[in-house]
């Protein structure tokens, strides 16, 4: 047993077994970890000004908007469809484009396909950095570059999808059993053919299911992109919230919920089929 600093301060418990052997049990780290968590919680509470009594005294304010949303304004339904379809189209196009471009990126990042550590490292770093940018912030940047509208949202979703699928795929490709690939090569197939028959069948189901999953999540993201002017149903949400027209907001949310639910069910069905 390796003794760390912690073990030197809090001595491990020693048991003597019936055969005379000594066994040491490390002192539990849980109290130590709990202390740290407690400390960080208190500090964070100080920084953010958390005041639990405020929840009791003013908590009902939270319900005010929620109750104002019911009953939803059903007359508003006709105004929702246009932006909603914008949202779906945005996330569909962004997801497909991102998923397609993710293939070369994933291949370039996997060390067992492209044997060039510099190239692998570069693309991996690129994907990581891309992934750190929250979608809403890349959408914000995109609205400055492409102007307000659905294009900016599509670009933001495209970038996120690229980084997300790219990362998951290179992780998967790197763990593929290369034995089949080598076997195909030894039978006289070219590298491309071996790739087609050994790697692709292994990777394809994961790729499709990850893409579907990304699309599913993107619809959710796309719904709020309108907040920064990147088109879609978020624009409507922002506008109605600004006017305090809460019944209409309720309608938008209700339809959004239904659409997200239906799309999730469809995508879940296909993902179950794939695996």
């Amino acid at each position: 047993m390796r003794e760390t600093v912690y073990d030197k301060i809090f001595k491990p418990k020693t048991y003597t077994l019936s055969n005379g052997k000594e066994v040491k049990q490390r002192a539990s780290r849980a109290p130590f970890i709990l202390l740290i968590v407690l400390f960080v919680t208190v500090v964070s509470g100080e920084v953010t000004g958390v005041d639990l009594s405020m929840l009791r005294t003013r908590g009902h304010q939270f319900i005010v908007i929620l109750t104002a949303m019911f009953p939803p304004n059903f007359n508003f339904m006709n105004n929702v469809w246009g932006p909603l379809f914008d949202t779906i189209q945005m996330s569909l196009l962004g997801s497909i484009a991102g998923a397609l471009l993710a293939i070369p990126f994933a291949l370039l990042s996997s060390s067992n396909i492209i044997r060039n550590r510099l190239l692998n490292g570069f693309f991996k770093l690129f994907l990581s950095i891309l992934r750190t940018l929250p979608t809403l912030i890349s959408a914000l940047i995109a609205t400055f570059i492409f102007g307000l509208g659905t294009m900016a949202g599509t670009v933001a979703i495209f970038l996120f999808t690229l980084s997300y699928i790219g990362k998951l795929m290179y992780e998967h490709i790197e763990n593929v059993d290369m034995g089949a690939f080598e076997a195909h090569e030894s039978m006289g197939l070219s590298k491309v053919e071996a790739f087609r028959y050994a790697i692709v069948p292994d990777v394809l189901p994961t790729y499709l299911s990850v893409s579907l999953y990304a699309f599913e999540g993107n619809i959710r993201f796309a719904a709020i992109l309108g907040y920064v002017g990147a088109g879609g149903v978020g624009l409507l949400l922002d506008e109605r919230l600004g006017w305090r027209d809460y019944p209409s907001v309720g309608m938008v949310l209700l339809i959004l919920m239904l659409v997200v639910f239906v799309i999730e069910r469809i995508s879940e069905y296909f993902r179950m089929k794939l695996t």
């Binding site: 953010t48 939270f62 189209q89 196009l93 914000l140 940047i141 102007g147 978020g234 949310l253 639910f261």
Partner: protein, 270 residues
């Protein structure tokens, strides 16, 4: 071709119709989505702004980036974002524990589990920014609203992952303990908690990673964090400031991600 091989090939299910139907639907969807999104290249102004952002990234406002006094500089803002995400995750994961038990069909009856699931889906679909606005009514603008928003929005995912952990509990351990004559308390303490604890912690750390990302956008509605200064800087075209905020953000999120991956690996592997 060898007859046996040919026969075997014929036995393979014919999926041409199925696959081509999917291909047609997909193509139609792609064309439809192209119609909806008005593709605009970037005009001169866009190119100008893109170059500005890049030059901002490479010549960040160093004074702003390394201003360690409380509040004003990038480190202070990042610290606030970290705190919001941390508290949100802690509250959210505590709230998720009872919900996840109510959601797992092996503990409560099926209808109860189903209803709880519906409620959680309902909570999850409302965008975090809407919650942000609701909580601002409660607490006034500021990081506290962000904390409450984070707690509520993280419940959905955390409880779903918790349920997976609960459903996958190794029941053999419990049976063994029953056969040894352990009391219920002992079974919970030594049979269930050790199994749940590390997995729950791992889920929570993973969610923290995501919350940190989400906490950056709450600033949009005035719920604290680094989002608001970023937007102000962009709207007033102070690109070097934008550059320093983005650099700080990317470094922080990358660092937290690497750290949390290490931690989770250790948790899972014991």
């Amino acid at each position: 071709m060898n007859k046996a091989v040919a026969q075997q090939l014929e036995k393979a299910p014919n999926r041409k119709v199925y696959l081509s139907t999917i291909a047609i639907i997909l193509t139609a969807l792609i064309i439809w989505s192209f119609m909806g999104v008005n593709i605009t290249g970037f005009d001169q102004r866009g190119t100008q702004i893109a170059t500005n952002i890049f030059s901002g990234l490479f010549s960040p406002d160093l004074e702003f980036l390394f201003d360690f006094t409380s509040g004003g500089g990038v480190p202070g803002l990042l610290f606030e974002t970290i705190a919001i995400a941390f508290l949100g995750t802690v509250f959210g994961s505590f709230l998720a524990i009872p919900i996840s038990f109510l959601m797992s069909p092996s503990i409560v009856s099926r209808p109860v589990a189903f209803v709880t699931r519906l409620v959680v889906i309902f909570i999850r679909t409302i965008p975090s920014l809407v919650y942000g606005l609701m909580f601002i009514r409660v607490t006034g603008p500021g990081p506290y609203a962000g904390v409450l928003t984070m707690s509520l929005t993280s419940i959905g995912m955390i409880s779903r992952l918790y349920v997976d952990v609960i459903e996958n509990l190794d029941r053999g351990v419990l049976e063994a303990m029953t056969s040894m004559g352990c009391t219920t308390y002992q079974k919970v303490r030594y049979g269930i908690l050790p199994q749940l604890f590390s997995s729950f912690l791992s889920v929570t750390i993973y969610r923290y990673d995501m919350n940190l990302r989400d906490a950056t956008i709450l600033g949009l509605v005035g719920a604290g964090g680094i989002g608001a200064p970023l937007i102000f800087a962009m709207r007033s075209y102070r690109w070097s400031e934008v550059g320093s905020i983005l650099i700080g953000l990317v470094v922080l999120i990358l660092a937290v991600e690497i750290f949390s991956n290490k931690l989770r690996e250790r948790l899972v592997n014991g």
